[in-house]
């Protein structure tokens, strides 16, 4: 330990992040145990929050880190959901493993989508992804085996004896429908934790550093050898896969699908964009804060229908104009607290002796 004074090291951990890691672990434990004492409606609300959080994290990865503003993420929710319904109805698969197929279907759709959409720059990329989502919606509406334009439901035989539901029924002594909600909720917890952990891991790797470099200045990033095109493809495909998984899971819980609902721009992209913008784009904390604000607003204002959406739009515009880094950005700028730090800081050696660490320029700048 006496030598340690002279060893420099690069680390991203801060005191806040160490505390938040412990808190996060506790929260996950509480979340897993929640069905034991929570009501069914709370479980359903939590399912909604968690799935929206997953969608928001992936959109944030695309737009906030990859600079790819997509308005067509509903294509991946929809195709994932339809792939899940397709294999359950036509091939008799169990819905739970079919969620993975939902992710794969979205990934496969993402390849031609990226091929077309990457030909468009910036804002035109946004509308290009939207056109592709419309094309997929119109094509799926022609698919008569899963109900065509009017949609269909999961067959009772598939929902009745889904994997794990029997065990959950005996464990909590609940009916089949409630057991399915608990199963969907647990899968949502799993997906949300995996999403946040996965994105955090990605951002802390060399690839994540390259991604941040591309976001901040694409020309400078290219000049130091970052392959910007490959970065865009990686981010786009990863986001599509995750969004597809979320789509499959959401529609496993809903058990009823139609093209207009599964490919809804409002539900799967507009809300998600507002969540990320309000919370703070380009941070992992932002979407978490955003989804909580969104849920509170929705609970308070949902009865006002279109006024609610208008308020959401006005809040989004106001934040973009006056606090472009969102609520979390406001908080983080004032306190310097980051729960998921990705910035590398130099510590150790002589630096730890005094308070020099805190005055290092790199520790205060973004």
């Amino acid at each position: 330990m006496t030598n340690a004074k002279l060893d420099y090291s690069v680390q991203t951990r801060t005191r806040a992040s160490s505390i938040s890691a412990i808190v996060a672990l506790l929260l996950v434990l509480v979340a897993v145990a929640l069905p034991a004492f929570a009501s069914r409606s709370l479980i359903q609300d939590m399912f909604f929050i968690l799935t929206m959080l997953v969608l928001a994290q992936f959109w944030n990865l695309l737009a906030g880190y990859g600079g790819l503003v997509s308005v067509g993420q509903q294509a991946f929710v929809g195709i994932g959901a339809y792939a899940m319904f397709g294999v359950v109805i036509l091939m008799g698969f169990d819905p739970v493993p079919s969620i993975l197929i939902a992710g794969v279907a979205a990934l496969l759709l993402a390849i031609p989508t990226a091929f077309f959409a990457f030909r468009l720059q910036g804002a035109y990329f946004a509308i290009g992804t939207w056109v592709i989502a419309e094309v997929v919606r119109l094509l799926v509406a022609q698919w008569k085996a899963v109900g065509g334009g009017t949609g269909t439901s999961l067959p009772r035989s598939a929902t009745g004896d889904m994997w794990f539901t029997g065990a959950i029924e005996t464990l909590f002594g609940v009916r089949n429908a409630a057991a399915r909600d608990i199963l969907a909720y647990w899968l949502a917890v799993l997906l949300a934790v995996a999403t946040i952990a996965g994105i955090y891991w990605l951002l802390r790797t060399k690839r994540g550093l390259g991604l941040a470099a591309v976001r901040d200045n694409i020309e400078a990033a290219k000049s130091v050898g970052v392959d910007a095109v490959r970065m865009k493809w990686t981010v786009f495909l990863v986001s599509a896969f995750g969004t597809g998984l979320a789509g499959g899971l959401i529609y496993m819980q809903k058990a009823r699908i139609s093209p207009d609902a599964a490919f809804s721009l409002q539900d799967w992209t507009a809300y998600v964009i507002f969540i990320v913008v309000i919370g703070g784009i380009g941070t992992i904390e932002g979407p978490i804060l955003g989804v909580l604000v969104f849920f509170i607003l929705q609970s308070l204002l949902a009865d006002f229908g279109s006024w609610y959406l208008m308020a959401l739009g006005v809040i989004g515009i106001t934040i973009m104009l006056f606090a472009p880094r969102g609520l979390w950005g406001l908080f983080s700028d004032r306190t310097g607290i980051e729960l998921f730090p990705v910035r590398r800081r130099l510590t150790g050696g002589r630096l730890t002796g005094g308070h020099v660490t805190d005055t290092l320029p790199s520790s205060k700048e973004e």
Partner: protein, 287 residues
């Protein structure tokens, strides 16, 4: 003969899409801004004209002329007080702000006018037709196409014959150098969006007279407009007209084969052009 008729109907429909697209093309050409609320602004224009026609009993054409200064002022103010603040190298803020605006407009219209579909009554004009070489051509589609031609010729004249047009082109090429020559880019942008809103009013007039509309149809019009601009090539106004015609023909031909394929065929035509000519048919702008 039925095919000739279908294609001519498609070309005339393309005039409407070119009208949707001309304003988008103008704004993008000058300030590289894509207004995601463009379609909703067209619908807003249609409601404004409808309101004037219902309240005052004016002819729709006069009502549109009355609406134009209001729409110009709206565009001018929108650009000056909101969109100019978010213009810059980062494309995210303008996109997200106009996306928010789109949601606000749609829901404000829903609250104000309900979800019922409406139509601007144009009297006998809406069903009138003329016989040309054995084909029945609707007067309304012909007028739409004629208006699209007038708008595009007018914009070209404005761009290449007037000092305002020179200022537009200079600001488009390089705002910094233009401002050294005594041009204020912020004011130029506001005027450009104002003019785009005048075109939006013309588009709204024909949209409202030719078909039913309700607050939710804006985004689909934005998509058609966007496809026409991309097919034509960024920065080319005649290209935009060609793009509108291609979408229009694809849609009518698609609908002739199977009514469910109308919209899909338009989108597929767009994707094919994007595949073969990624920069559009008549590209002018570098980006």
């Amino acid at each position: 003969m039925i095919w000739v008729d279908t294609i001519i109907q498609g070309i005339l429909l393309g005039g409407l899409y070119a009208l949707f697209a001309a304003g988008l093309s103008l704004v993008f050409g000058i300030m590289r801004l894509v207004n995601l609320a463009h379609g909703d602004l067209i619908v807003l224009g249609a409601y404004l004209i409808l309101l004037l026609v219902t309240l005052t009993g004016l002819s729709p054409f006069v009502a549109a002329a009355v609406a134009m200064p209001f729409m110009f002022a709206l565009g001018f103010g929108l650009q000056k007080f909101m969109l100019n603040r978010v213009l810059g190298d980062d494309i995210l803020p303008p996109l997200l702000v106009t996306f928010g605006l789109s949601v606000v407009l749609q829901n404000a219209l829903l609250e104000g006018f309900s979800a019922d579909s409406q139509r601007i009554q144009a009297g006998p004009l809406s069903t009138a037709s003329i016989q040309v070489a054995g084909l029945n051509l609707g007067v309304m589609p012909l007028m739409t196409f004629g208006s699209a031609l007038v708008v595009i010729i007018g914009l070209n004249q404005l761009f290449y014959r007037t000092s305002l047009g020179r200022a537009f082109r200079a600001t488009s090429d390089d705002p910094t150098t233009a401002s050294l020559m005594g041009i204020k880019p912020a004011g130029i942008f506001a005027k450009a969006t104002g003019i785009a809103m005048i075109i939006v009013t013309i588009a709204a007039l024909y949209l409202g007279m030719r078909s039913n509309f309700d607050p939710s149809i804006g985004p689909a019009r934005l998509i058609y407009a966007f496809e026409a601009v991309i097919i034509g090539g960024l920065g080319s106004l005649w290209g935009t007209l060609a793009g509108g015609v291609i979408i229009g023909v694809a849609q009518t031909v698609g609908a002739a084969i199977n009514p469910e394929w109308q919209i899909l065929a338009g989108h597929l035509a767009f994707l094919i052009v994007l595949l073969v000519r990624p920069r559009g048919l008549f590209p002018r702008a570098v980006d």
